[in-house]
Subunit: 308 residues, 2 copies
């Protein structure tokens, strides 16, 4: 699967992913009102609003980008209707030839991780039928439980041509509380990175592995180190834009081949119409604002890589 | 919320929780066939099967136990229909006056953790309405992202009278890979335990905190140490029974007041009818086997505590 992602990144010359993380606060008032008039101010109404919002943003950006990353928490907070909107979004994006990275950050003991891996990357046998639950292309995974929590995801990658991104160094302010603590002289994130490198050998796909890593844009010196620790792991980089990460900091996340990283922006793209820079588009044309923000982000990242 | 859980534990003299972790392999053939005849060998059919299975087990055990712990992965693997069965199970258990521990192991950066906290323990505002998505009583939470990933859950505990159990030392074989590594002479799980103790001060409810911890039954010497590190944290103990944890090892997880821990069994209860010990009940009476296994487990745990 990582090779499919790389092919699309190269074809579109866009090492970026749009984070489809909708909340009621982001959705334009008129989209909400249309949804509420049909379904009321209910979980169903919220789910319809975020689905229509997503659809418009995907329609306006899919030709520019290789991938999207829906954050399932934003859907889960609207209950079952929200999760139906998540599944509709996954399917709609795949119909538009986008790679879908399910940002689910699952992880548990072996047999339970296997169930999560089936849910998001695999299949389940029901009687004599094989059914496909959510069917994203990639999932993000939490490493706290160690190898036997990760192995079932790698099996699902190999069985179904899928991929994962393991949390290594996250973009949030308190990520260092545990991740930066030194173990035998090296920080925990480096030990996790080394393990990602090992795990990755079991699922190579061309020059890179289906086992990638999450490393926040907000910690570029750690990105630089982790790039060397996991040379075959694609790095999914959250934290660009709204969280404070700058394109000029991102060059070290890439390899000399110009590949090796994909940068996510969520609010900066999907709520672009709310920022001063794109306010001219107006709330009615929020998706056009997202398109322009996507073009600007691609240029910003590409010029930073080329100036490496 | 922790006080409500303690009250039920004391009233029923049962520091145990039944893990409702259904898979197709556990559900008796006749329950599956009834479900498939209605909904086919589909995600809907699987969801109906696990819902009927759960309902029978709850009906047969609810008077004996204070709480249940549905593992959401087992439902998520059956897609949207599976998650509808999860929600029906949560609601049914609450109608039967059971405390529901959503074993969801969520955790993310701050704003995303807030969405998860809303989803499982809180509420969401939609227009002028306040809606309740999943509404478990407790959720399990992953600490890898540090304080800003946990804080939104604690806020949800305080706003809605709920609780969490933070993963400290998990029951699986490779949990030591990161959790046991030494940082300044102490293992990572101890540092996480100390943080749980600190976090817990912000959500006290009687003698204990709404911020509890997960510590596997399979590592009793670590349970003993963590009991001292987090004196006010209730410990949720997975790994008893099928995973190898013995009642005789569990005394150190409890405080001198006889409180402080609640022991989970999943397969050992819900699939009791498949074990030699309870085979006499037969597949038709699987729920009666679960009831007997619950009675035996309560006696086993209680005699171990009393022999402390």
């Amino acid at each position: 699967m990582i090779q499919k992602l790389i092919d699309r990144i190269v074809t579109k010359d866009a090492p970026v992913v749009v984070g489809l993380d909708p909340t009621m606060a982001h959705v334009p008032e008129w989209v909400k009102q249309e949804a509420f008039s049909q379904y009321g101010e209910t979980l169903e109404g919220a789910a319809e609003a975020i689905w229509q919002y997503n659809k418009a943003i995907v329609d306006a950006t899919y030709d520019l980008i290789p991938a999207v990353k829906p954050q399932i928490a934003m859907y889960e907070q609207y209950g079952i209707p929200g999760l139906i909107a998540f599944k509709k979004t996954v399917d709609y994006c795949k119909e538009h030839d986008l790679i879908v990275i399910g940002d689910v950050k699952r992880g548990d003991i072996g047999s339970t991780s296997a169930a999560y891996a089936n849910a998001h990357l695999g299949k389940v046998r029901i009687g004599n039928n094989i059914c496909t639950p959510f069917d994203e292309d990639f999932a993000t995974v939490n490493p706290y439980l160690g190898t036997d929590g990760i192995k079932p995801f790698i099996d699902a990658c190999n069985d179904n041509d899928k991929g994962i991104f393991v949390l290594v160094k996250t973009s949030n302010p308190s990520s260092g509380e545990f991740q930066d603590r030194l173990i035998d002289g090296n920080p925990l994130y480096e030990w996790v990175g080394e393990r990602v490198n090992l795990w990755g050998k079991d699922s190579m796909d061309g020059e890179y592995s289906n086992v990638g890593a999450v490393v926040g844009a907000t910690y570029p010196e750690m990105g630089s180190l982790l790039r060397k620790v996991m040379p075959k792991a694609y790095i999914l980089v959250p934290g660009y834009g709204a969280q404070g990460g700058k394109a000029s900091d991102l060059a070290p996340y890439f390899n000399a081949d110009g590949l090796g990283a994909i940068v996510n922006s969520s609010r900066g793209i999907i709520a672009a119409y709310k920022s001063d820079r794109y306010a001219i588009f107006g709330e009615q044309n929020f998706a056009d604002a997202s398109r322009q923000a996507t073009i600007d982000m691609i240029n910003d990242i590409n010029s930073a890589i080329k100036n490496q």
